[in-house]
Symmetry: C3
Subunit: 313 residues, 3 copies
């Protein structure tokens, strides 16, 4: 594995999940990647990703160094050919290349603008790091995907599923007051399409994901129909893809509560966190035995450890 920016970078998804599960049973192996250097660059705030990736690196004996660009450093220029006489102090060509000289792996978190679909979906920022860093790049969430989250999600489903048949996994939209990225639902859909599950999506009209993230997937605009018989429900808000970045609905009838849960096959309920209680998922569900969001969060450590172990080979 050269980089880790989407499922397409992974040779063997099952092996990666098995490795993550194995690390969960035996996490601290400091001789494995001893002395390796991991840079973690955040262009946006983070709690779980920052902490879990640091812990994962430490478990491997590697050293993680965190840099908050814009706060610890300064604003970066991503456009080529410009005369830099504005507010940007450094070009990504130098910033990425220098970090490529300091580290063995470079983790990068970027967010989409949610205003310019073409730029966001061409992953301009992430691609600049890939082009100029000269070392393996680890996505800590990008404009359109969050593959470390998806790997942890798949691992969590695997841990919680003991029956012989394929589980039915449903991704459902939920309301939120802000315009959120599509990265988590896109990425979850992409990984589920590759996994041994029966996957479908339910969201209000206007909230269909980009076509490449729902190819061959049933999409229900009636939440009740979508949730019927689900074994796992992934609850998540996202802003519209077609009316790009817009909040078209705050319909609280889509908030996930006991009424929704009752439609499922006593589903396990998932969320990537942070979750707004009462709005996205109701307390009655989050505080029930059906909720496995904390397992997902915990598994972020072992997902990251599994990926770092590969990238630092």
């Amino acid at each position: 594995m050269k980089h880790f920016t989407s499922i397409a970078d992974v040779n063997d998804v099952n092996q990666l999940v098995e490795q993550a599960i194995s690390f969960k049973a035996n996490a601290f192996q400091p001789e494995l990647r001893k002395g390796k250097k991991v840079g973690l660059v955040f262009l946006n705030p983070s709690l779980r990703t920052r902490l879990s990736t640091q812990v994962a690196a430490q478990n491997l004996g590697a050293e993680a160094i965190v840099l908050d660009i814009g706060k610890d450093g300064w604003a970066l220029e991503f456009e080529d050919g410009k005369i830099m006489n504005g507010d940007k102090a450094e070009h990504i060509r130098e910033a990425a290349a220098v970090m490529g000289r300091y580290f063995d792996v470079l983790g990068v978190r970027t967010f989409p603008s949610l205003t310019d679909k073409a730029t966001d979906y061409s992953e301009t920022l992430l691609q600049s790091f890939l082009k100029h860093a000269g070392i393996p790049v680890l996505s800590l969430e990008s404009g359109t995907r969050h593959p470390l989250q998806s790997l942890a999600d798949l691992m969590t489903i695997k841990e919680h599923w003991t029956k012989d048949r394929k589980p039915k996994v449903v991704l459902t939209w939920a309301p939120h007051i802000k315009a959120l990225p599509q990265a988590v639902p896109n990425s979850f859909a992409e990984w589920m399409m590759h996994a041994d599950v029966d996957f479908s999506i339910t969201n209000p009209e206007g909230y269909n994901l980009a076509p490449e993230f729902r190819e061959g997937v049933s999409v229900y605009h009636d939440q009740a129909a979508g949730l019927a018989g689900a074994d796992f429900v992934y609850v998540k808000n996202w802003s519209a893809y077609e009316a790009y970045g817009q909040v078209l609905s705050q319909d609280e009838s889509w908030s996930f509560g006991n009424d929704q849960l009752a439609l499922t096959n006593n589903a396990k309920v998932m969320h990537c966190l942070p979750v707004r209680r009462g709005l996205v998922i109701k307390d009655e569900v989050l505080d029930s035995a059906n909720a496995i969001h904390l397992d997902q969060a915990e598994n972020r450590v072992y997902a990251a450890q599994s990926v770092l172990n590969e990238l630092l080979k």
Copy 2:
């Protein structure tokens, strides 16, 4: 010891102090708690606590990871049952539980509001972490106490006291331009009440500490009377407890200088830092051999190391 949030959590105070003194003589023992993970969450800025606790963890072979909530992360919701449609992105129920999955010990710094006495003195924020983290919690200063400071203070008194009799220890109020928490004086009083010392307090009228932090302790409103014959003087500003959080006096006659020192038994002068020179303690005292504030600061490392060593057992 399950948690460390006040002296009530400590089984054997003397043993903890002796362990700290022993670590000071032999600090670097990286095999002792090798690979253990310590999360340090700051809801407020910190210099000494942040640095000393990181150094303490490293001395034990543990890994400390610092997170500045609100700066590295986001604002947390502490109230239960709310629909989170405002500016808080995550509930303490998830934030604390997730960190509980990542770390072996969770250090937490919170500050009081100084406007709502009931909330501050019920330690709502700290209690939320205790309730939801699921792992040992280490107070890095809370609304009403700063036990790591008090442990370092007690250790410092012990190091500097060689006579056979009990030392006379006096806590004296000093002026300040801002409303400061009562956590340090509360906590110092609490620890001195349990220590083998003769303890009293002197403060202006209106500045009495909460009753539970001065039970059975003589309080003098005449500073000269209070300081007479002191072997150790702890100088500290705090805002009023009764007229909660208010600055009732900025009386500079309470600033601790040579005039005050002359009333004592050539006392050692203590402060937890940061100290405003000239206002709280005068240069003539801080730059004299009587001042032991730097020893207190240094001992923060060994106090934290002693406590972490217990909590990581």
Copy 3:
């Protein structure tokens, strides 16, 4: 070596450079300074210095702890004898002394005011740390010098020079939109004056460096004359020293491009970064094989490692 704040602190420059080159060949030696503690205090933002010094410390088995004063901590008072009743919460006397108790080496980054020449050139801030820390102090750039950069620069020249004769090294001014410190050019000049090179400077009228940083050095106000026959060109903007801190010119004819390069002996082109592309150096040069700015940045790790190795002895 007791401190590292300028070339005057170095006993044997050649040996320090050789040590840095040796570390580049064999960087990870964690037993060398195992368990030593390095504090890195930033009063200003930093990318390369922060990351390279952390990596250098880790390579030696030492622990680096970063503190952003003013962001992680609070504003410091540097003036003696004041009654601290304003916005400064702590005096450098305590802050530096406390960090001196926690660490084995204290790295400090300060910037000049660019308004008060006397204060900047007397290095008030750095001198306060030197006076009160009580441990070796490592300059991470100060008001008038950036010796870690200069050491990396000298190392880079040595790596790239294979001929028998002395290389001709020219420092050239370039335009910028902001008033920048003189620390990098001052320091580079100081180190070149001590190195086995033929050193000269070219800058517009009014931009002469302080006399002590160009003693015995030829200064050309005609860039073409200054660049003629150069083997290495160090391109850098700085604000005026005489009209202190002012931007007297933004003359883009001094931007370093192919026209300037053509005047040299196919020179290697250097910059300390961050560099504003198009304004300071043109893309045509930065993206050519003549540019060695990334080697300079990489060598920051080994320069820091070489210095830390000495200071931690």
